[in-house]
């Protein structure tokens, strides 16, 4: 067991924990800043907040480099630092209590609530998202999610990580990750279904009417 850990460490670790600080930082920053900025934007929704989060993440990562043992991928480690920093930042700013989402609140109560009233029929998701109003509605729905659900949805459905990886980042077991993910998806679905969004060919008209 001991030998296996020893032999696994050098290949898993791609950042040296010693050496010239600037060189170590530059390598970490160069290899991961685009990914962390994308993640930060998805979490925060605002450019300035996302840039603040990138700064916090790399600063904390640099300070914690010596404690990084290489038993996780560098990207997973950075995601964890960023997710924690984001949860801390938002709690501080909003002072919001942690809200739990119950499955019961997502059970449709009328026929109209079962479908999305969205201009997505016959379109690929990429084509549908060319509709700026739809893109904005999706963005707002994700931002409206309570923090702990939003982080899981962003990691799993937007960053494309596995439930196991999300669990490692969030300190949760897979079952808890899947439970939060399901509620988060149902929340976003309901937010989208509650909005009437115009056809892609008439986005400006739809916005004026909204």
């Amino acid at each position: 067991m001991k030998n296996r850990r020893r032999s696994r460490q050098p290949s898993a670790r791609s950042v040296p924990a010693e050496g010239d600080g600037a060189v170590v930082f530059d390598r970490l920053y160069r290899d991961h800043v685009d990914r962390i900025y994308r993640f930060a934007q998805r979490l925060c929704g605002q450019v300035e907040d996302a840039q603040d989060l990138v700064q916090d993440t790399f600063l904390n990562a640099y300070r914690g480099l010596e404690g990084f043992r290489g038993d996780a991928q560098v990207s997973t480690w950075l995601y964890r630092i960023a997710a924690r920093a984001c949860l801390r930042l938002r709690r501080k700013r909003k002072g919001e209590p942690a809200r739990e989402l119950s499955l019961d609140e997502f059970i449709p109560t009328s026929e109209g609530e079962f479908r999305l009233q969205l201009p997505t029929d016959g379109l690929s998701p990429e084509e549908a998202l060319e509709n700026k109003e739809l893109k904005r509605a999706l963005h707002q729905a994700i931002q409206k999610l309570p923090n702990k659900y939003r982080v899981v949805l962003v990691l799993r459905d937007m960053e494309g990580l596995t439930a196991k990886e999300v669990g490692t980042i969030m300190g949760l077991n897979e079952r808890a990750v899947k439970s939060r993910l399901h509620r988060a998806r149902l929340f976003v679905r309901r937010e989208l279904s509650a909005r009437g969004i115009g056809e892609p060919s008439r986005p400006s008209k739809a916005i004026q009417q909204g």
Binding site: Q51, L103, S110
Partner: protein
């Protein structure tokens, strides 16, 4: 509320409880995490319940939209500025 829900399902000839059971498993169903027999059960329910069929389509669309929603990347100038600011913060400690 329960009256409205009941009326939304009553004409499909099954109970609300069956729909709720399906709803609870939809993410696992869409992520292909369920056994063949449970998937078959869910598909059978959806065949008999147009509302749940529509619901699963809408959840699938929601997930696809999330997966495809991109965000603007960091400009080279912003990347360089952030790097300078982080290094300054590192050196000031």
């Amino acid at each position: 509320m329960s009256t409205r829900m009941t009326s939304a399902h009553s004409h499909h000839g099954h109970s609300k409880a069956q729909c709720i059971k399906v709803l609870r498993r939809l993410s696992a169903y869409l992520d292909d995490e369920l056994s063949v027999s449970i998937c078959k059960e869910i598909r059978k329910h959806m065949g008999a319940c147009p509302n749940c069929e529509v619901f699963v389509t809408s959840l699938r669309q929601t997930i696809s939209l999330c997966r495809c929603a991109d965000v603007p990347s960091l400009s080279p100038a912003a990347k360089a500025r952030l790097r300078r600011e982080i290094l300054r913060a590192i050196r000031s400690h």
